[in-house]
């Protein structure tokens, strides 16, 4: 197993907190000095890293991640800023065409706080109770208040009853199994099923798929932001607020199921399960006795689990010879989100605060969105067969003169069912906002707080002298 600096990597990246309550605070600052003061004050509150927890385990956890604007606002040297990947520099809103955030999910329709490009940082607070979270959050907010930085807005999230999400499905069952000693003692089959499938069974994914500065599934250490102390042990967080239309979902399931299995009271439940690939209790549609130790090798045409089911298209569980599925290990994400409920926010007033952890936003999250969620061709199905649960009803190709995109409703195919198609699915999930963040390692955070990685005049001079002497 590779040597991994657990005490350098932020806890949220690799560690399952099992804390059901979260608060996310969004900040900006105007000068590098204020940014440094803010970060110093935050570090004084004890950030949580991946190192093994003492016993008893902590009641709360604290993490931080920065946008590209945030890094700029620390006065980071241009040469260093240039080493960050394009998609991170652009930010989620600028990448809407790739992510598929069209129509009502387009950045122009996002909630106020998310719409602006002002966000410099998110502070992520997790706790075991709402009370504990609120008390700790107010301590943190107070400490940060005096630094001259501005809190833009905040967002609460929590685990719902029985670990379900708002459509009623059990959530967070499958996570990537990562090759790090001490993360999972004696991993059971359901942990291992989150790994990669090989000839000798499930194997853990290399840590470089999720943390910068380590070997990934290509057996190489991919390029990461420089200098090393800034990039290494960092990770990218994709944060998205996904509103869900629960009434619409339930109604559509009922209506469509009636056309497929007339008069069957179990129909809508069955249809929802086929679209998810799991029943609401979390069981895969064709396996009764395991929740994560399974694959689709014996179901190539999707008669048991439809090819386009949410959990099948977002986690192929193997490389098949169909184009688009080779290298499936290269597009995995760790999910760290919880669920929100905004009273008085209208139809899309509840949903998920989706957080994905990855080492490359473009290769992992964006690829997944573009090709696996919002396309059907890689399955050998139609292009407008997109993810039945989270897919979007627009296609970048249908661009009108004015640059907008007409709606093109999704279809869903279920070979072997009495009526094997569902047409004209409306959207069930709408993006309310989101951003790309970088969660630096400990050394990087301490460096940023102390004005390292910036190009001061003195620095430039020293470099020039060195260059000249060569």
């Amino acid at each position: 197993m590779p040597q991994v600096d657990l005490d350098q990597i932020q806890g949220l990246v690799l560690r399952e907190y099992e804390m059901g309550f979260a608060k996310y605070l969004f900040y900006r600052w105007d000068t590098p000095d204020r940014g440094r003061r803010w970060l110093k004050a935050l570090l004084a509150q004890q950030l949580t890293f991946c190192s093994p927890w003492p016993s008893p385990t902590p009641e709360h956890a604290l993490n931080v991640a920065l946008t590209f604007q945030g890094l700029q606002a620390f006065g980071l040297a241009p040469a260093s800023l240039a080493t960050f990947p394009e998609e991170f520099k652009s930010g989620m809103a600028q990448r809407a065409a790739i992510v598929g955030d069209y129509g009502e999910s387009a950045p122009a329709c996002w909630e106020m706080g998310w719409k602006s490009s002002d966000i410099h940082a998110v502070v992520l607070i997790h706790a075991r109770s709402a009370d504990r979270r609120d008390r700790f959050a107010s301590t943190v907010a107070q400490a940060l208040n005096d630094t001259g930085a501005t809190m833009l807005f905040e967002q609460d999230a929590r685990e719902l009853d029985e670990g379900k999400e708002h459509f009623g499905f059990k959530d967070g069952i499958s996570q990537p199994w990562v090759n790090v000693a001490g993360l999972h003692s004696n991993p059971g089959p359901d942990v291992m099923g989150g790994g990669k499938r090989t000839k000798v069974g499930w194997q853990p994914l290399e840590v470089g798929e999720f943390v910068l500065g380590y070997e990934d599934e290509s057996d190489q250490v991919p390029a990461f932001p420089s200098p090393v102390a800034l990039g290494r042990n960092g990770s990218y967080l994709v944060v998205r607020k996904l509103g869900k239309h629960v009434d619409r979902f339930n109604l559509v399931m009922k209506e469509q199921a009636e056309a497929i299995w007339p008069g069957d009271p179990e129909g809508s439940k069955r249809l929802a399960a086929l679209m998810m690939g799991r029943g609401k209790d979390g069981r895969p549609v064709d396996k009764a006795n395991t929740v994560n130790d399974f694959h689709y090798e014996n179901d190539p045409s999707g008669t048991r689990c439809p090819l386009g089911a949410h959990i099948r298209r977002t986690n192929l569980r193997e490389d098949t010879d169909r184009e688009g599925s080779l290298g499936s290990n290269r597009h995995r994400i760790i999910r760290r989100g919880l669920h929100y409920e905004d009273p008085n926010a209208g139809t899309w007033d509840c949903g998920s605060m989706f957080i994905a952890v990855c080492a490359s936003i473009s290769r992992q999250f964006e690829f997944l969105q573009q090709f696996w969620v919002n396309d059907g061709e890689f399955l050998g199905l139609d292009r407008d067969e997109r993810d039945p649960i989270i897919g979007v009803n627009r296609d970048g190709r249908d661009r009108r003169e004015d640059g907008s995109h007409p709606e093109r409703k999704r279809k869903f195919t279920m070979p072997g069912k009495p009526v094997p198609f569902v047409f004209d699915l409306p959207e069930f999930v709408r993006v309310r906002g989101g951003g790309y963040f970088f969660a630096p390692g400990r050394a990087a955070l301490e460096g940023l707080a102390n004005g390292k990685f910036c190009q001061s005049r003195a620095n430039t001079k020293t470099r020039r002298v060195k260059g000249a002497s060569r």
């Binding site: 290509s218 390029a223 045409s301 184009e323 061709e377 139609d382 190709r397 070979p415």
Partner: protein, 182 residues
Amino acid sequence: MGGKQRGNNVTELTCIAPLKPGGADKLRALFAQREADEKQGGRSPIEQIGTIHYARWVIINGDKWMLFTSNFDGGLADYLKEFAERDEKVLNAIFQFCEGWPGARPADGFIKYVEDHQVTAAYYYAAYARYTVGEVKRALYWKKTTEDFVKKLGKPRADKDQAITWLLQELAKPTPWPLPES
């Protein structure tokens, strides 16, 4: 990045790279082998990338240059990344005979190489520019399946209900390729 696009979908790539001394003959031998293999029923490795309509390699200017053109769905950057990820061996087998070839992976070096040798078309036409390779194959599969269905109905004492059930289930299958003989 260069390359013209039509119908918001199909993109052209023209890449002209210098051949190493003796490279032209080796390249011809490589492609002759490929053609012979495909005559025996072998599948082209290009199929691994489901977005390529056409691709060709031409040796030009007295064996000094290799011309590579391709027509594919989507943007050039995605296409090249996928090519490097999926068909690393194939790319290396061909481009190893070109001067300055950095290898297909890491993809960044390969992308830079293609960009450096790419020439944008002065004019680009495509008959069904909006439609992807996947859609064309799917449409042909549905056409064939529908024909088979109509043939079933045309048989004496055809069971209509059975034929309809057959049609629905066939249409729901992922596109088989190449299309099966009927």
